[in-house]
């Protein structure tokens, strides 16, 4: 918030871009991207439709944040504050999701590596 005046043309351009991205994300939702088939479980389980939808949403969000909310013209402090919010949300989601998804990976009794019996199912679960 430095008093920087963003020209109206920029606002209109961002507006048009946001509408276009909305149309895009709606249209693409009706296309089945299915999943990749690389053979690596960790990559194959990624739902591409979700990734595409979220990616478009993130781009839209960035346009609003940077231009409508003037973060592009703001101090470093503002940028750090914004990033901190998303970072900690990411921590909440990722750690909780990691627990929920790994609950069924039970360790084996008598595994070949008795020092780290839990590693095998972990690796199996990932790959």
């Amino acid at each position: 918030m430095s008093g920087h005046v963003v020209p109206v043309k920029t606002y209109l351009g961002i507006f048009v871009a946001l509408l276009a991205l909305t149309a895009l994300t709606t249209a693409v939702a009706f296309v089945d991207f299915d999943k990749l088939h690389t053979g690596i479980h960790l990559i194959d389980m990624i739902p591409l439709n979700t990734v595409v939808a979220l990616a478009i949403a993130i781009v839209k969000m960035l346009l609003v944040i940077l231009f409508f909310m003037h973060v592009k013209y703001s101090s470093g402090l503002t940028k750090v504050v914004v990033m901190a919010g998303f970072l900690f949300l990411a921590i909440l989601v990722s750690f909780t999701l990691a627990d929920e998804l790994s609950r069924s990976w039970t360790p084996e009794a008598g595994a070949w590596n008795t020092a780290l019996p839990t590693i095998l199912p972990l690796l199996r679960g990932l790959f």
Binding site: F88, F95, T96, D99, E100, W105, T118
Partner: protein, 548 residues
């Protein structure tokens, strides 16, 4: 070279009673209830928080009386469940979380940075009213029969099976959360934007660093418990299955969301105390703090890492082993910055010129008791030992060593240290030291036996116990009565001193810091001229050795 504020001409004695200060600047209930002066708001909080402390303490007294007998001496088990729940809810949310930030923080943050007030004085007043409304809901819940879910509100008991006043209590906690958020917001903006000229970040008192770190946790953590309680309330009203396993919900998910805030919350409760410690140790050793930068950054490190360890509360409740592994490692990590602080305070004491005033007694007690509490946390962070110790009195002792032996002692030390600044009066020194001693003895007698009890396997939150544990329980209850008396003594002499205590000068301790450059009590606007700062914090080497 020193700060340039000189509010009184040397040699000119203005009688304290006739000088206009924030206490006598205006009279009447409205001038207090509609004040935007951060110092008056701090006192409003002080009164409310003290009240809640004694309410929560009353429940503790009942619990310890009950546990004198193995079959319970006082109440029915259902009532006992309500006692420990209300004790926890009130002490955590209505005493410990706001204690130092809302009282000492509100009073001192603007003064320590050379500002006239916080950035948003009206939001500050609003935060107090929100606290009061939240407290009212919770006290209503107490009167209407209490809650018996434990302060942790675990589902599905709290969402489906408990027949007690869950929703009023949850509402009270939800509302009070916003009070914390506003306080944290105010501090962050004030510290960033309103420091006096010359007061760079690394010249700030470490109390300010601690308040800043605490505010980060307020801002990032509190909203999550707010939404969690909101979902719990909706679940209880509509029975849709968010956390109830019978209809597809996951109770562990509630625990994730609950502890995502509640673990950082325990750092909210201790970080301000650590900030107070840095002020007390330096003043009463007449020494600069050892390793200022390390202590400052350790506050930030604690705040940030505290968000990564919440799963250590869930090692035995059904979390995946892999998540447990990660949380265990990170929990060991979070101990490091706390240890850094303890080492640095101890190094500050070394070769210092130590005096044993009451604030210093509390500070020294803190160092020992916090260290014990912290070290016992390591047993709990370790997956294997936690299996044995979780759900026992070992945990109860662990967190009481930190919360009571640590946070409450730091709070009392801070109240005593800044009392002359806040009230313009000195408290009776002999009684203060006596009370500190009583509290220290009472505290250890109460809680050390609980470490042993926990190790021997006595579960927590149980209204009855096997007879072989009785001796330790009686010791603990005896200690609790001593501790209770210990807390009453300062209440009496501090209140007494407001009227009858000797007038205190601007700097009775000869301490360094901008707040000590103002009269006691300070004028409403704090500083007639905003000071220009040219020296580092705790510049005690330059002090002549005599008290001001």
């Amino acid at each position: 070279m020193s700060t340039t504020v000189i509010p009184e001409m040397p040699g000119q004695e203005i009688p304290a009673e006739s000088r206009v200060n924030y206490l006598n600047a205006s009279y009447g209930v409205k001038s207090w209830l509609l004040t935007t002066d951060h110092k008056r708001i701090a006192l409003l909080y002080l009164g409310s928080i003290t009240l809640m402390f004694f309410v929560g303490g009353f429940f503790a007294v009942l619990m310890r009386l009950h546990l004198i007998e193995p079959q319970g001496a006082l109440v029915a088990p259902e009532t006992y469940n309500k006692l420990f729940t209300m004790h926890g809810v009130i002490m955590v949310f209505f005493f410990l979380v706001p204690s130092i930030p809302a009282t000492l923080g509100n009073f001192l943050v603007p003064m320590m940075i050379g500002a006239r007030d916080l950035a948003f004085p009206r939001l500050n007043l609003l935060s107090w009213y929100i606290y009061i409304i939240g407290a009212a809901f919770t006290l209503y819940a107490v009167i209407s029969g209490g809650v018996d879910t434990g302060w942790t509100f675990y589902t599905p008991y709290s969402s489906t099976f408990s027949h007690t006043s869950v929703i009023p209590t949850a509402l009270g906690v939800f509302i009070t959360g916003f009070s914390s958020i506003l306080t944290g917001l105010n501090f962050v903006v004030t510290i960033h934007k309103m420091r006096a000229p010359g007061l760079t970040w690394f010249r700030l008192p470490l109390f300010i660093w601690a308040m800043y770190a605490t505010s980060i946790i307020f801002i990032l953590g509190t909203p999550v418990i707010a939404i969690t309680i909101f979902l719990l309330g909706l679940e209880r009203l509509l029975h849709i299955g968010i956390f109830d396993p019978a209809i597809g919900g996951d109770p562990i998910l509630f625990q994730h969301m609950f502890w995502f805030y509640s673990h950082p919350a325990v750092y909210i409760m201790i970080l301000p105390g650590m900030g107070v410690m840095s002020e007390l140790i330096t003043c009463f050793s007449r020494k600069r703090v050892f390793g200022y930068t390390f202590v400052a950054f350790s506050s930030l490190a604690i705040a940030i890492i505290s968000f990564l360890v919440w799963g250590h509360h869930m090692f035995v409740t059904g979390q995946s082993i892999y998540a447990g592994l990660i949380f265990s490692v990170l929990s060991f990590l979070v101990a490091i910055p706390s240890a850094v602080k303890v080492f640095n305070w101890t190094a500050t004491l070394y070769k210092g010129s130590i005096s044993y005033d009451a604030p210093m007694l509390y500070a020294l007690g803190f160092i020992g008791l916090f260290t014990m509490g912290g070290l016992t946390g390591l047993f709990l962070a370790s997956l294997a030992t936690d299996v044995h110790l979780n759900g026992t009195y070992f945990i109860v002792a662990h967190f009481h060593y930190i919360m009571v032996g640590g946070a409450v002692m730091a709070y009392l030390g801070g109240i005593h240290f800044w009392w002359p600044k806040i009230t313009g009066r000195m408290y009776p020194d002999g009684w203060a030291r006596f009370a500190a001693l009583i509290i220290f003895v009472g505290f250890n007698l109460t809680f050390f036996p609980q470490f042993v009890l926990g190790y021997l396997g006595m579960p927590r939150r149980y209204a009855v116990y096997p007879t072989e544990f009785q001796v330790l329980n009686v010791m603990s209850s005896a200690g609790a009565s001593i501790l209770g008396i210990g807390y009453l003594i300062p209440l009496i002499y501090l209140l007494w001193s407001i009227r009858y205590g000797p007038i205190a000068g601007p700097n009775p301790w000869g301490a360094k810091g901008l707040e000590w450059e103002t009269p006691s009590p300070p004028p409403t606007e704090n500083f007639e001229e905003i000071p220009v700062v040219t020296e580092d914090a705790y510049d005690y080497a330059n002090v002549g050795g005599s008290r001001g």
